[in-house]
Symmetry: C2
Subunit: 141 residues, 2 copies
C-alpha cells in the first residue's frame, strides 16, 4: 500500500529469485540468510528484513505469523501487478505448519459480507486462516 519507487538492486533481485523458486513452501528470514550465507552471496539481515517487508507491501509476498515467538514465514504469491488469483485462500495448520491453498468461491462471500455488514474491505491475499488440518485433526488431539 506504500507508493514508494521500486529500486531494482542486486540484492532485491537475488531475494526475489530465491523466494520465487521456493514459492511452494514458507520461508523464514533466517532461512533466507542461511541460504545466502551458504551460497557466498551474503546479504545483510537488515536488508533481508527490509526487502521482505517491502515485497509484502507490494503484494508479491505473503507474510504468515504463527505466534510472537516463532519467526514469521514469507511466501511468494506473484508479481506483475496484482495477480489476484481468484479467491485463493490460505489455511495454515498450527500443528504441522503446513500451508494449504484453497480455491473456493463460497469463501468469496465472506469478503462481500464483511464489506456490506461491517464496512470492511477484505484483502484475501493477506488473510490467513489458522487452525488444524484434516491430517493432524484425524491423528491425535
Amino acid at each position: 500500500m506504500t507508493s514508494r519507487p521500486i529500486y531494482k538492486t542486486k540484492q532485491r533481485e537475488i531475494l526475489l529469485k530465491y523466494m520465487k523458486e521456493n514459492s511452494s513452501g514458507h520461508i523464514t528470514a533466517a532461512q533466507v540468510c542461511d541460504y545466502l550465507r551458504a551460497n557466498g552471496t551474503s546479504i545483510g539481515q537488515a536488508t533481508v528484513y527490509r526487502q521482505l517487508e517491502k515485497m509484502v507491501d507490494e503484494g508479491i509476498l505473503n507474510k504468515y505469523v504463527i505466534d510472537g515467538n516463532t519467526p514469521a514465514c514469507f511466501e511468494y504469491v506473484g508479481e506483475n501487478g496484482h495477480v489476484h488469483e481468484h479467491a485463493c485462500f490460505h489455511c495454515k495448520c498450527e500443528k504441522c505448519g503446513r500451508l494449504i491453498h484453497m480455491h473456493c468461491e463460497e469463501l468469496e462471500s465472506i469478503a462481500g459480507h464483511l464489506q456490506k455488514e461491517h464496512g470492511f474491505t477484505l484483502d484475501p491475499l493477506r488473510t490467513v486462516f489458522y487452525g488444524v488440518c484434516e491430517t493432524c485433526a484425524g491423528g491425535l488431539k
Copy 2:
C-alpha cells in the same frame, strides 16, 4: 489441555478479577503490569505471563496474536466451563493499523464450511482478517 492442579493464590485472584472486569476489551500483558504497578499491587511480570498463559490453557482467557511484533492480547471469556458462545473475529486495518474485533454469527458459518468442505478446523482465536476499515476506505486512498 493441561491437567495441572489449580492453585488459588492471591496473585491469581487479582489477575482473574482484573481480566474479568475488562472482558470487553483486549488486554496485553504489559497493560496488566502497568495497571498493577499503578495500583500498588505489583506482581512480577513472569507471574503475569505464566498465569495468563495458564488461564488460556484452562479456557478462561483467549489469546490473540496479531503479528509477531505487537504484544499478544488476552480476553476474558468466562469460567466454570462457560464456553463462550460466539467466537470473536478480528479485522486488522492495513492502513491505520487499528484492530477491530467483532462478534458475528454469520462469520461462524465460515468455520463450519471449512470443516465440512475442506476438513479444516478453523481457529477463530488466531485468525485475523486483513484489509481496509471503513474509515480508511471512505476517507482517502
